[in-house]
């Protein structure tokens, strides 16, 4: 039933790493490049640097923000399914990662379509953000699974924190449809990692779900800083909290 032919998308070629810096992402040291990070809670709508793309505010800002995160995840899994760990992985892990690739590519194309259908092209995030995954060894199981876990957990926190910014109920429902799938992903990856060390509670571990039984929720400024290590193309989120 499964079509084993995975569409290979050209991997973005890294460039201009002169401003390389190192960021911590949930304990993973990741190599990062020149993300211009400038978030504030001011809703003044101004863009102090017109040469750098700003995500915008309200629904537009959240959709662009989600589009950036889905581009990041889709690019990661594209590289995973074209890497040597995946090609020789155990069947269960191979199937899970292929599904995650499928879902994230679908999400990415959904946001692209939704943005272009509802907003003018000049305020839609560019389709080909450049990413830097030099910190990830796609030939190494541990490196792939640990990065997948961080990205999925980060996706959950991002959507949970963005819900309150959304102005249109239909968009809130769609964000809800996607975030629960991201949480299903996170649990599956955690379940595999936990199984390696007989930690059968890691799928929903105390490191990620608090004493009230609540998952994480973070504002875009926090998420963009955390994910910044992977994002090369500069953009700002001046109109998002």
């Amino acid at each position: 039933m499964r079509n084993k032919k995975i569409k290979v998308e050209p991997a973005a070629v890294g460039k201009g790493n002169s401003r390389r810096k190192f960021l911590k992402l949930s304990g993973l040291a990741v190599a990062g490049t020149g993300l211009l990070l400038s978030c504030s809670s001011d809703d003044d709508g101004g863009n102090p640097n017109p040469d750098v793309f700003d995500l915008g505010g309200g629904d537009l800002g959240v959709l662009n923000y989600a589009y950036a995160l889905e581009q990041l995840e889709a690019e990661f899994y594209t590289r995973v399914v074209n890497g040597s760990y995946w090609s020789s992985a155990a069947t269960e892990e191979k199937n899970i990662l292929e599904d995650l690739y499928n879902h994230e590519v679908n999400h990415r194309e959904f946001f692209k379509a939704a943005l272009n259908a509802n907003f003018s092209a000049d305020v839609v995030l560019p389709a080909q953000l450049e990413f830097d995954f030099s910190s990830v060894d796609f030939n190494n199981r541990n490196s792939v699974l640990q990065t997948a876990m961080v990205l999925e957990d980060t996706g959950v926190k991002a959507y949970n924190g963005a819900g309150k910014i959304i102005e249109t109920a239909a968009y809130l429902v769609i964000a809800g449809k996607i975030v629960s799938v991201e949480a299903r992903h996170a649990a599956a990856i955690r379940s595999i990692i936990g199984g390696d060390m007989d930690d059968f509670k890691l799928f929903s571990g105390d490191d990620i779900v608090d004493a009230n039984g609540l998952d994480g929720a973070e504002n875009p400024s926090v998420i963009i800083q955390a994910a910044g290590g992977f994002i090369v193309t500069p953009f700002t989120a001046n109109q998002l909290p």
Binding site: R2, N3, K5, K7, N95, I96, D99, Y101, N102, H103, V105, N106, H107, E109, F110, K112, A113, A114, A117, V156, Y159, N160, G163, K164, I166, E167, T168, A169, A170, Y171, L172, V173, I174, G176, K177, I178, V179, S180, V181, E182, A183, R184, H185, A186, A187, A188, R190, S191, F200, K201, F203, S204, G205, V209, N212, G213, L214, D215, G216, A217
Partner: protein, 281 residues
Amino acid sequence: MSIIKFLDEFTNDNIEGKLASRKDALNKITRIGKKAAMASIPLGLAGMVSQKSKAAVFQSNDQVVATLQLALVLEYLEASFYNQALDSGVLTNPKATAIYEQIAKHENAHVTLLKDVINSLGETPGAEPTFDFTAGGAFDPFNENGAGQETAYAQLLALAQAFEDTGVRAYKGQAGNLMGNDQLLTAALQIHSVEARHASEIRRLRGLEGWITLNQRGIGMPAAAQPVYDGATPESNTIQGGVDVTTLGNGNPFTAEASSQAYDEVLTGDEAVAIASLFIE
């Protein structure tokens, strides 16, 4: 408040007569939620609920409270189920036991949190219903009626899957009712994604994938669980925001199967109540 009004506040659509068991559900909710659902809404609530009203979408206070009461019923159900499961002796392997312990911890925490929130709004949390997880004798998940360990264990896992996948869809269906109250909406979303983590792990424990393909309930699930995957917007839906996502590209990410897996769908309030009511005496 009439029961019809109460239920209508769970749903923003006008679906009528979709459920054969709707009348049953109405009767059940009348009994389980009498105290909560029928409570009059105090007038002084406004200042406590809204910090930042988004005028166009702000939901009324009684809608917020009704949403929280429905969530509480679902959490009571899940907490009671997992607590009894852990006491039943049916769970014998360490992995399943650990998973049920972790989920039980979260569901009990959700009950406490929702009761605290409802109290903080000046309302009285609904009393815990009496649950019947045999659904009138159809199941024996705690091996109380002679089903035997193996059958009871299979049913214990199947019911957990049904409850978790229902929980994910039900919370998603209620999120819009909390728009305009940032704290409550965010907390509901934080519960919602934990339910999704649970659902994924229970499904995997049963040998399924962590995500839902089309409207398939999956191997070993009783036919009675099919409403968990159907509804006004079934899990097989691929139309998102008016766009058929299967048309957005070619290849594996855009098959009907992958396109359905990639998005979980909502249950309306009365759909969720109808499912929960099967297990309420």
